[in-house]
Symmetry: C2
C-alpha cells in the first residue's frame, strides 16, 4: 500500500456488472478488490443488486467494515441489478456491457471537463488489453486526444490499482474543451446542482 | 445497391464526430457515405455542427438532395459541434470519443431491449477491427451475451454498409432482458413517450 498517497479520497465507485465471467480469477479479483477497499477504510458506491461480480465486491467490502451504497436506476429495478452508476469519488472497472457504456461515458465527459477523476481498470487476465489497444489506435488516427488516455489507470491487482489511484495527479490540458454551465442565477458555477431533463421517444 | 431491401427505412442517423482523422480515406469515406445516403433518398440525422467528418457527411448528403437534421445538446452548443445524437432510424458510425460513447450506450440499450435497431460500423482502414476483437474477447469471457454482436453490422464501404443495414432482420433473443415501462395510465407500452428526469450533482 502506498505510504503517502497524494489524494485522500474517501469513496470509490466500482462498476463490475452482474455477470461472473468465465474464469475464477475474475471472482477472486472482485473479492480481493472488496477486501482491499475495506482495508483502506474507503466507502463503496456500486451498481446495486445481488448478482455477479458486483455482489462479490460489495459483500467482501461490507463484511470487512466498509460502508456500501448500491444505486439502481428505477427503470432497471425489476432486474434487481445494474451497473449504471457514476456517483463515486474514483472508479474501478471490471465487467460487462453496461460497464463499458459507463466507461466510455466517463471518458467522454472527461474530454469535455465535465468529469475529471481517474478511471481505474482492474486488468484481470489482461482483459482490458484489447480495449487499451483500440484506444491507442484511435489516438494514433487523431480521433481521440492523447490526454484522455492519462485518465485510464491500469493495474493487474486491486492493491496496485488503489495505490495508483491514490497517487494520481490530475493534469489539466488547455486543449480540451471547458464547458461553463449556467446556474439558476444565470452565473457560471462548476459545483452547482445541474438538472438534466431529457424527454425521449423510445 | 440491394435490389430488394428487407427494411425500407427512411431516416439514418450518422455519428462521426467533429475531427477529420489522420488519413484522407476517412474524409473520402465520409463524403461517399453522404452521397450514398442521398442516392438512396434517405433523410440524414446527425450530431450537428460544421466541423470534421460530421460536416463532410452532412454537406455531401444535403448537396445531393437529402433532408438533413442536426441535433446538438444545449450544453454543447457553445462548441458548435457534437456527436451526441441518437434520433435516427439506423446508425452508422465512424469516429471519435463521443461516437464510441453513443456506440456503447446503444449496445447497452439493445441488450436491455430499449433499442433494437442495427448499429452500422463503417470500417474505414479497418479502424474498428480492434473494437470488434475486444467485443469478441468480452463475449468469450461471458461478460457480454453473444447476441449483442449481431447488432453490429460492419462493412468497408458506404454502399456495402447501407445494403447490409437495409437487409438486416432483427432476431429477438428470449435470453436478453425485456423492460416493460409504465405509461401515464399505468399500463405497459413500448411505444409510449418516456420521460427521463435526471438530477446530477457535477
Amino acid at each position: 500500500m502506498a505510504a503517502t498517497p497524494n489524494r485522500q479520497f474517501k469513496n470509490i465507485c466500482v462498476l463490475s456488472g452482474f455477470t461472473y465471467g468465465k474464469h475464477k480469477e475474475f471472482v477472486e479479483a472482485a473479492i480481493d478488490l472488496g477486501r482491499s477497499i475495506a482495508a483502506r477504510k474507503l466507502h463503496l458506491v456500486y451498481g446495486g443488486g445481488n448478482r455477479g461480480l458486483s455482489k462479490m465486491v460489495s459483500e467482501a467490502a461490507f463484511i470487512r467494515g466498509s460502508q456500501v451504497l448500491g444505486i439502481i436506476p428505477r427503470v432497471l429495478k425489476p432486474l434487481g441489478s445494474s451497473s449504471d452508476s457514476s456517483t463515486g469519488e474514483e472508479l474501478v472497472v471490471s465487467g460487462d456491457l453496461a460497464t463499458l457504456e459507463a466507461l466510455m461515458t466517463l471518458a467522454s465527459w472527461a474530454h469535455l471537463h465535465i468529469y475529471q477523476k481517474p478511471i481505474g481498470l482492474l486488468n484481470v487476465n489482461n482483459f482490458y488489453d484489447g480495449f487499451i489497444a483500440f484506444l491507442n489506435h484511435a489516438i494514433k488516427n487523431y480521433f481521440i486526444p492523447s490526454n484522455v488516455k492519462k485518465l485510464f489507470i491500469c493495474a493487474h491487482t486491486a492493491n496496485e490499482l488503489l495505490d495508483k489511484l491514490q497517487a494520481y495527479k490530475p493534469e489539466p490540458d488547455p486543449w480540451t474543451f471547458v464547458l461553463e454551465r449556467p446556474n439558476h442565477d444565470g452565473n457560471n458555477s462548476r459545483s452547482k446542482k445541474y438538472k438534466l431533463d431529457l424527454t425521449l421517444r423510445l
